[in-house]
Symmetry: C2
């Protein structure tokens, strides 16, 4: 058992969907989230640079004593998973690509799997590599660079977004994919529009949810969970860029908190006779 936090790293905000899935499944575990918001997005940077930045971030998490590292960023995962495993021997490292790829292989009925992701992730061919040993899988990859901007603006149903989504997703529909990997940690917040466009017959695989399942499994199997009776965990969020910007955009990802709860006596309109 260990009271140390789970370290979650992303280039910016997207990894917060992973953080939230971990918080959902492991509400007793403290997390330390580190977003490199000063240097995001990593997508357009050369792989060597992504690797350098990402290892610098993970070094910081390790110095803070995290018990596990979660690389909650597809671009970083594809650039430096192997380096991280070598560098931090003894600290388990979880990333976002393999959990989603595994789930897609299990879910597809016709072997036609779609991938939507950033330019960087698509061109890294990290998912193609993950599917290397499953030759019956036919992967259709589409870069959807503009989705991130809509998520961060909180726009999920504008005519403009629907046009963009229809254009991005046309090759997925044309290929007859029955399973679609949301290969960018921002995309779970566009499930509504994506499902609307591809139809509800298509199984959506969220790399955030699948990664949280891996974190759960690893924590259990290695006996690293926090004691059940411990005090409520304290979560920490750290950003290399402007903390206020991080806080504002981050709210879109972690959602609102329940503030004041009304009761029946609050208003005469509500007359309850329970």
């Amino acid at each position: 058992m260990s009271d140390a936090p789970i370290g979650i790293f992303d280039s910016g905000f997207g990894g917060l969907t992973v953080a939230r899935a971990v918080l959902d499944q492991l509400p007793g575990e403290p997390i330390l989230y580190l977003g490199d918001s000063a240097r995001q997005p990593y997508g357009p940077r050369p792989i060597a640079e992504v690797r350098e930045y990402a290892l610098e971030m993970l070094d910081q998490l390790v110095r803070e004593g995290v018990k596990m590292l979660v690389i909650a960023c597809n671009s970083a995962s594809s650039a430096m998973l192997r380096d991280a495993r070598e560098r931090y021997a003894g600290i388990p490292v979880v990333e976002v690509i393999f959990p989603a790829a595994r789930r897609a292989v299990a879910a597809t009925r016709n072997g036609k799997v779609g991938l939507i992701a950033t330019h960087a992730t698509v061109t890294s061919r990290a998912y193609d590599d993950a599917f290397e040993i499953a030759p019956h899988i036919e992967l259709t990859s589409v870069a959807c660079p503009r989705f991130v901007e809509f998520v961060e603006r909180g726009v999920t149903m504008s005519p403009e977004l629907l046009d963009v989504a229809r254009a991005y997703l046309a090759p997925i529909i044309e290929a007859g994919c029955d399973t679609l990997i949301l290969g960018c940690t921002h995309y779970p917040l566009l499930t509504g529009v994506i499902s609307y466009v591809v139809g509800d017959g298509v199984t959506l695989v969220s790399s955030a949810d699948e990664t949280a399942k891996d974190v759960y499994r690893l924590l259990h199997d290695r006996g690293m969970a926090r004691a059940e009776a411990a005090a409520p965990p304290v979560h920490r969020f750290r950003a290399t860029g402007d903390p206020d910007v991080f806080s504002a955009i981050g709210r879109r990802f972690l959602g609102p908190v329940i503030g004041y709860v009304e009761s029946p006596s609050d208003t005469s309109v509500f007359r309850l006779t329970p």
Copy 2:
């Protein structure tokens, strides 16, 4: 377009997973959540009583001018969906059973679908009815009454929970189900342990996520969404029982909010040179 809130009703807390999925997918829409926490759980009550209570709750939401009703409770859905549609003609009513059943039919590869739910939902045979026109689907239903208690206590990895989960899920594994419906709105918060026990080859269908997709679709197709440029929405939570208890348990469902965000200058341990 309409600025009116989306009304979400549940017997207590579970519907908050539906509320959160709606908030994720439609961050611009105000919601009015009504939990009948004074009279929960509905599960053990006779259907006629569930119907009476649930219609009373929906009446209140309608009086508050909601533009759509979401019955975020499996027990209530199975008891009074038809009544609600008749009673509130003109206001779209979304419930949690059909969206999940539809998704399961699309997802299964071998036709063997599992259902875990409360006693009330299993004995109502509401999911059996939903699958009536899909005779190739072989449904294995298991009531998991104790899961709710673990969720509300925030326990997701204790040896006791794992024992309970293994016992509950044994018939699902034995039947060879490749798809499992989480037929109670509490269960998405146990995805980690459920997936751990049944294995990651099984596709989990969350009625919360599927219901949110239906809300998205309906709102779009009927042109009922709020204007994009409108001010941030105000969400309201109302409970028939103790507001403080609701607020405390509710936090487990909606998750923590990002409070203070650290920046590199906060501590000398973190020296960043971006």
